[in-house]
């Protein structure tokens, strides 16, 4: 039964096994590399993993359902503020705050999905952009309980009660494992959604709303579901973010962050859960690693130009993002197995010209 489940439903368990192994050994690996600070690297990786959660959720909305959002920093902010306020002001445990933050953000996502039913393409982009811009302003306006422009600080450590024991995530390494665990769960969940009838309805809406409706896909239901689901991911990620930094301010949630999220999923490859994950890790890594380029002729911001060039080259040569590399190598390999090496080039040509899976 298990083997059949693996094959027929297409759950790629092997990469997650490998990924999980890397996640587990990374801290030990960092300890033996000389000259680096594991805490700093693990903080950065945790941040990348949290962004990856948002990217996976955004990928479900943009990549699978074809509904654009330029306002995901807004959902991210709502999750972060909800979690921070619940733990700081009401003394709720971390896990409860995380769940409530996720549920609240999902509800707001659902509500934002309603007007989005009438909008598409650039109009939806502008509407969601407005949402993303408005949230930090609302936070500042309601300064008496949100902390205003100075933000909320001194959040309690994240903890997880397990029967008689309570795990407290004290160090950078602890928190890294927490972020990784949440990401693993949410990645598997996203893969399941994509493989389910809901996922197929998303793709049908993306490819043609009229055809999808003709086939009996309820547009209202599935579009709002996609928004709610996507917001849920951003909300949970926001909650993790707030507790990673132990504090937040409106400065954290600028429109640039929404653009970063969009860049991540395009870089990774639209319509692929693994791609969103890879794109988030890659962009966060590039943004931080490239600032270490040597300063040439006093041009301190050379890294931004290099980052831009890398993005342009990636989009130009990998229109399907990082996931596209995976796809073409899969086709190449499969073709070689079936037909022998002589027909590989032909198959690749067909494959690249075809429709996305």
């Amino acid at each position: 039964m298990k083997v059949r489940w693996l094959r027929t439903r297409g759950r790629a368990m092997v990469p997650y096994g490998v990924g999980l192994a890397v996640v587990v050994v990374l801290p030990a690996l960092l300890d033996v590399v000389p000259g680096i600070a594991p805490g700093y690297i693990l903080y950065l990786v945790s941040l990348a993993l949290i962004y990856a959660i948002v990217a996976i959720g955004l990928g479900l909305l943009i990549g699978h359902t074809g509904q654009i959002s330029l306002g995901h920093a807004g959902f991210f902010a709502i999750g972060a503020y909800a979690s921070a306020l619940l733990t700081l002001r009401l003394g709720l445990p971390f896990v409860a705050a995380l769940l409530v933050a996720g549920a609240l953000t999902a509800t707001i996502g659902f509500l934002l999905g309603l007007p989005a039913l009438r909008l598409s393409g650039p109009y939806l982009a502008v509407a969601t952009l407005g949402f993303g811009l408005a949230i930090p302003q609302l936070v500042v306006w309601q300064g008496s309980w949100t902390g205003g422009s100075s933000g909320l600080h001194g959040l309690p450590l994240a903890s997880l009660p397990l029967g008689a024991f309570t795990i407290v995530f004290r160090t950078d390494q602890d928190y890294y494992y927490l972020a990784a665990a949440v990401l693993v769960v949410l990645t598997i969940f996203a893969r399941n959604v994509v493989a389910s009838h809901t996922g197929r309805a998303f793709v049908a809406i993306r490819d043609s709303e009229i055809a999808a409706r003709a086939m009996g896909v309820d547009l209202v239901r599935y579009k709002t579901t996609a928004f709610a689901l996507s917001a849920l991911y951003a909300g949970i990620a926001g909650s993790l973010y707030a507790h990673l930094l132990h504090g937040i301010s409106p400065e954290d949630f600028t429109v640039l962050l929404s653009v970063d999220f969009l860049t991540m999923i395009v870089l990774g490859g639209l319509g692929s859960v693994g791609g969103a994950l890879a794109g988030a890790l890659m962009l966060t890594f590039l943004q931080n690693a490239l600032t270490r380029l040597p300063v040439v002729h006093d041009f301190k911001n050379l890294y931004i130009v290099v980052l831009g060039a890398i993005l342009i080259l990636t989009i130009a040569f990998l229109p399907r993002g990082l996931a596209g590399i995976v796809r073409s190598s899969r086709l190449r390999w499969a073709a070689r197995v079936r037909d022998g090496a002589s027909r590989v080039d032909q198959i690749i040509e067909l494959g690249d010209g075809g429709v996305p899976q």
Partner: protein, 417 residues
Amino acid sequence: MQRLSRMQDRTVRRVALAVPLVVALLAVSCGSATPAATAAPATAAATTTAKPIVPGVTDTEVVVGSWGPQDGPAGAYGTIDRTLDAYFKMINDQGGINGRKIRFIYENDSYQPAKTVAAVKKLVEEDKVFALCGGLGTAHNAAVMDYLVANNVPHVWPATGTTALAVPLKKNIYAVQLNYTTEATLATQYALDTMGSKQIAVFYQNDAFGKEGLDAVQAELKKRNLPAATGVSYETADTNFSAQALKLQTSGADTVILYAVPKPGGSIIAEMGKIGYAPKLLSSSVINDPSIFQLAGPAINGMLIEAYLPPFDDTSNPKIVEYQAFMAKYAPKEQIGGFTEAGYTYGQVFIEALKRAGKELTREGFMTNLDQMQNFTGSLVPSLSYSPTDHAGVKAAYFQAAKDGKFVTVTGFITLK
């Protein structure tokens, strides 16, 4: 395509999907190994000496860190760190301090707190800085404050006016910049004692910044058993200020103190002018932006603002002549002005603290000596004092008055009573 073997198809996908993850994770660990090459000699040298290891200190070098935006909407602040870098270069050209050259590492956080935390972790854990100087931003300082306290890393002159860094006292954080409480108290004292004000109103931004100003005014009035000031607030989203102007007029105040950013500040002054209400005006230095004169119109003439660094263009001041000569030689690309003046001053204070800490440099020794700094006059700040119980720094300011499109100095330095 559908005729490809399903099993092979899945297997390849499974293996291949793992590649980006593995590559990315490995890349993160490898990428961070690059600067290790530069950091390694310092660590090696530190371990070979028999003395206790002090982070970032060898016999020939001391590592100092900072952070601030070098790009993005707040990128203009970047000149502060660049000026500080130039200042340390000058010190190194002069032979360094106590035989040590300064290696200054300043990180770009793009004004994003998440990047500030990353930058500070890198500086402290990887570059092993001895101390920080001039880390910029209110939210950004708040994001790393607990971490710096827990790791006991001295931070001299965080570039923000928030009082939260100095009150309650943090052993390792030395605020310098005139904070909003001191600024508002000085304004109140000057209004009551020198300008002969009888009744004060405060126009303030409804957030931590504005309320800190209002609270300081009320505290000073209460101390003198005078009736409380009328507070009239605004929200940053407000665009029409006629209601607030009327409220200020009906309060009957003869003096209005402003804790507002340039746009609302300028607008309220213009509105008060329109309804013929002309109280004496004092304002927080936050309002100091060239756009203010156009926004406020002629009603702004005579308004007083505070400043704690001497005017950067006053060439009759020998300290300013020295600053301008430094800028010409070491930072010719940076602009003479408030930001570079601040960066230059941070450097002066930090170097003085380093000098006083002596040849046997430790963090404890550095902080103990800084705690004993009394009336230090060697920087652009006229006088600077610390004690083990007070790390608030600057407490003196002078007043400038708005006159025909610019601010002109009207008083000497004034201290709290």
